[in-house]
């Protein structure tokens, strides 16, 4: 009945035997013991469980643990540098007060990391559409969007410094 899996979680190889029906989010929380990733629904609607699977964001309640076999997973616990330096998205969330109760936050941060990887300097409407699958009940999304745009503007400014003034002006919208 059990399935043997080897998954790299936040840079550490984990090997376990799990039931075939075990979801990735259950595996991370109950087997690996990382409680940062939350569960907010049972219809894959809320995004609280978002993690990176081989660098791309997935709702970990929609993936079986067995499907993560041989792949790498990053959760909120693995995002900051080993020396504790926050990832730019984490810093921006704090600076812009993009979290209140914190329940959506781990999933939201991972979704943002993935969004910015695909689109380093998004517009406001791109951010809003890109985060449609991640629900937050506390912040009204205002400061989340602001935090993402701030990281995007920094990325844009850096790109602008090499590519010319145009990109920076674009990012400053």
């Amino acid at each position: 009945m059990g399935v043997k899996i080897v998954v790299e979680v936040n840079g550490t190889a984990q090997s376990h035997e799990v039931e075939a029906r075990t979801l990735l989010v259950q595996y991370l929380r109950d087997v690996v013991g990382l409680h940062g990733t939350n569960i907010g629904c049972d219809t894959s609607s809320c995004g609280a469980c978002t993690v990176l699977l081989d660098g791309e964001s997935v709702k970990s309640c929609t993936v079986l643990a067995a499907q993560a076999d041989g792949r790498s997973v990053t959760t909120i616990e693995g995002l900051a540098e080993p020396d504790g330096t926050l990832h730019p998205v984490q810093s921006a969330f704090r600076e812009h007060h993009a979290l209140q109760c914190g329940y959506c936050t781990p999933g939201m941060v991972m979704a943002v990391v993935s969004l910015l990887k695909e689109n380093p300097s998004p517009t406001e409407s791109e951010v809003r559409l890109g985060l449609e699958g991640n629900l937050c009940r506390c912040t009204g999304y205002h400061n989340i969007v602001k935090a993402v745009l701030a990281v995007g503007a920094t990325a844009g400014a850096t790109a602008g410094a090499t590519a010319g003034a145009g990109a920076a002006a674009e990012a400053g919208r």
Partner: protein
């Protein structure tokens, strides 16, 4: 320089951003029994029999319990006037009264086994007629509690309202309050039922210690109330129970109350002597966590053709759901704020709270006040349309003037302070009202199919009502130079750790990270009420500040002795150096030295304060929404939301802004998207986050939020509540905007949520 009033980043965030919070379901409890409830699929039915045999034989199942097995008395509600026959049982006995009501509980070794076991419990039901429509409930044709004799849970009788203008023509005994009104408008509004949807659902975990004391972790806004309810259910002293609300993932009023499925976790852990835990699924939560709003309102507003409002009547029918919990009381808050920011001579209010075969209704962000604001603000717009006056101008002519405070409104509520006209003018200017009106007219004149709508609301609400009690706080300086602040409030996202640390650090002159914040643990906090109704800063925050100030007094006395100086010459060093003689850096004792000396004498540097405010505070503001309505599809797009809010003196604008933003979003959500729907048979139709239109980032604009600060005289911080005002103004501002967009096409009123279908049908109907 004081840190108070500054934008200070949150001390809560580093952990939440790197490891995530420690929510109830994250608490490690090895060997815990898992619970799963068997819930009724019927809205109303007799319970004929429950067959637990198959479930008991399922793998991992330890036991299956029904109401008969539990033998627990119903839960006592601490609200006046609710018929005793309507008390809520822990598990349904011979009758179920809403879909989702628990009839049995399965105990198993794992969560999956408990769920599998629950699916095997066979319950035989004898269906009874559902009671969903309030008219049906009022008729008494079908009774939920035959012993009570009616479906009425509570009533507020129409008392003749005192006139705010002495000498004004009192209506004759037979006359109506509208007798002298040239224009009278009347309309029925539905303030629809909502699912509060905190992102974390409910969970509980409990363990009986070897010392015979129970520890119960709860997703609660009010841990002391949970302790009281558990003690009542177990028949033990409160001191034998410790309730801890660790990180809680939002509550919005709904995690405030005695939920049987939560309390049973503690009860069973006590009985079994084994740890027990439970976490509901979202689909369960949609059914079993209390709902919000659910009022039907009939308004009548009268005045003169030149725009002077004179008389207002509000009749409320409150849907309580299956058991009268807080909802039965909500009309009192609606009544208190019925006339809002307007100077209306005569106001009549009456309400009836009815039980129906739906989920119980509880508090949800604003709890009774958004309903009051929605009624009067919609009514004012309706009146403005009737007399052909700009709604901003009609408001301007009728607002209570700034010189009138303290102001007693016709329903007897005494507002502390305010300047409603200033809020309105600020709003009109910031939003450039005249040019949006001009654009609206331009679009209309060239016949554009996408109409522009502008909606206003000038609101006032009540927070921190004194009859809900005060709060306790204690501050202690420790010999290592750090301070601990304990509070009876129970934050679940509001940022109290940051706010309270600011208050203490400012009083003691120590860095903010030298303050440790303790809340939500009944063993570590002496007493408390909790966090709801935007009450925390003006009660618990004030208590914390005063306790810190007393610690300073104690320390000055001590330092005076140690330094052989007059305490009157001693001041706190704002740089963290402790206490010393003004201008003499050498004559000083550090906090660590003072705390050590105090400890040696057996009189620690510790003070506690209970602060009860003399009355509630009345945050106010003005909100403006701009919407585009596509008259071909009925689609509504919120283009702008501009908010001017006054919550008195602001301690930390970062936190205040966050509260406003969240409130605004929930207001927009009610206006445009969200509704918890039951069909006529009482079947819930919006039981998942795929069906219930929880507002997302994509439906919202960035908000334009402005602040006014009129300090309240009712507490020394000058602070009013800010947790709910965003919702109270924005909901009806958005609703007014949509109706305004369609005013030229004959639409006079539309209920929320303003779905494309509803908008489109109204256009089809008006042709």
């Amino acid at each position: 320089m004081s840190i108070l009033g500054n934008r200070v980043l949150r001390v809560e965030d580093p952990k939440l951003l790197t490891a995530g919070g420690t929510y109830v379901d994250d608490v490690e409890l090895p060997g815990a029994v898992e619970l799963c409830y068997v819930r009724s699929p019927h809205a109303h039915a007799g319970v004929v029999s429950i067959d637990t045999e198959a479930a008991r034989r399922a793998p991992g199942v330890l036991d299956v319990l029904t109401a008969a097995d539990l033998a627990l008395a119903p839960i006592v509600q601490h609200l006046p006037g609710i018929p005793a026959e309507m008390a809520r049982p822990f598990l349904a006995g011979d009758r179920v009264r809403f879909v989702g009501e628990a009839v049995a509980v399965v105990l198993a070794e794992t969560r999956a086994e408990a769920a599998d076991g629950a699916a095997l419990v066979e319950v035989e039901y004898d269906p009874l007629p559902a009671v969903v429509a309030l008219e049906h409930a009022a008729s008494g044709e079908t009774l939920l509690f035959p012993a009570a004799g009616s479906n009425v849970a509570a009533r507020i009788a129409p008392a003749p309202a005192p006139s705010s203008a002495p000498g004004a023509a009192a209506p004759g005994a037979e006359g109506s309050i509208f007798d002298d009104c040239e224009v009278v408008v009347s309309e029925r509004f539905v303030n629809q039922r909502l699912a509060p949807c905190p992102l974390e659902v409910r969970a509980a975990a409990a363990v009986l210690g070897e010392d015979g004391r129970l520890t119960h972790w709860s997703t609660s806004q009010t841990p002391f109330a949970v302790r009281q309810a558990l003690a009542g259910a177990l028949g033990v002293e409160e001191g034998k129970i410790r309730v801890i609300a660790p990180d809680v993932g939002g509550g919005f009023g709904a995690k405030n109350g005695d939920y049987p499925d939560e309390l049973l976790v503690g009860v069973l852990a006590h009985r079994l002597g084994r740890p027990v835990r439970w976490c509901e699924t979202r689909s369960e939560s949609m059914l079993a966590l209390g709902h919000g709003r659910a009022q039907q309102q009939t308004i009548t507003l009268g005045g003169s053709r030149d725009g002077r409002l004179r008389a207002y009547r509000l009749e409320v029918v409150q849907d309580c759901g299956a058991y009268p919990l807080l909802a039965s009381f909500l009309p009192h808050l609606t009544r208190a704020m019925a006339s809002g920011t307007y100077d209306i001579e005569r106001v009549e209010f009456e309400s009836v709270s009815l039980v129906t075969t739906t989920a119980p209704v509880v508090a949800y962000r604003g709890a009774g006040r958004p309903e009051a604001a929605a009624a009067i603000e919609r009514a004012v717009d309706r009146f403005a349309a009737e007399i052909g006056m700009d709604p901003a101008e009609l408001r301007r002519r009728n607002l209570v003037g700034p010189q009138r405070f303290p102001f007693e409104n016709p329903t007897g509520t005494v507002y502390d302070c305010g300047d409603y006209a200033a809020a309105l003018e600020r709003l009109l200017e910031a939003s450039d009202y005249d040019s949006i009106r001009a654009e609206q007219a331009a679009r209309r004149s060239c016949g554009e199919t996408v109409e522009l709508g502008i909606g206003l609301a000038v609101y006032v609400e009540i927070t921190g009502a004194a009859d809900l009690g005060g709060e306790w706080s204690a501050v202690e300086m420790l010999p290592d130079g750090t301070a601990v602040v304990r509070t009876g409030t129970s934050a679940h996202g509001q940022g109290h750790a940051t706010a309270w640390s600011m208050l203490v650090s400012d009083a003691l002159g120590i860095p903010i990270d030298a303050v440790r914040f303790v809340q939500s643990d009944t063993d570590l906090v002496a007493r408390g009420v909790g966090t709801f109704g935007s009450r925390s800063l003006q009660t618990g925050g004030v208590a914390a500040r005063q306790a810190a100030e007393r610690v300073v007094e104690l320390a000055r006395e001590l330092a005076g002795e140690l330094l052989e100086a007059d305490p009157a010459d001693l001041v706190v060093d704002p740089g963290g150096g402790g206490i010393g003689v003004v201008g003499t850096p050498t004559a000083r004792r550090s906090w660590a030295e003072l705390a050590a000396a105090a400890a040696e004498r057996g009189t620690p540097l510790r003070a506690e304060v209970d602060f009860t405010p003399p009355g509630g505070t009345f945050p106010f503001g003005a909100h403006l929404a701009v919407v585009e309505v596509d008259t071909e599809t009925g689609g509504v797009r919120l283009v702008r939301l501009v908010a001017v809010d006054d919550a008195g003196r602001i301690l930390n604008p970062l936190l205040a802004d966050g509260q406003v933003h969240g409130g605004l979003a929930q207001g927009v959500a009610q206006a445009l998207l969200e509704e918890f729907v039951y069909d006529a048979e009482g079947n819930p139709l919006t039981t998942t986050l795929a069906d219930y239109l929880f507002v997302t980032a994509a439906e919202l604009p960035s908000f334009e939020s402005l602040r006014m600060e009129t300090p309240t005289p009712r507490n020394p911080l000058g602070a009013k509540g800010i947790g709910e005002s965003g919702t109270i103004g924005s909901t009806v501002a958005v609703q007014n905007a949509v109706v305004d967009a369609l005013a030229g096409r004959g639409v006079r009123h539309l209920d929320m949520p303003l779905s494309p279908e509803r908008v489109w049908q109204s256009l089809a109907a008006t042709g």
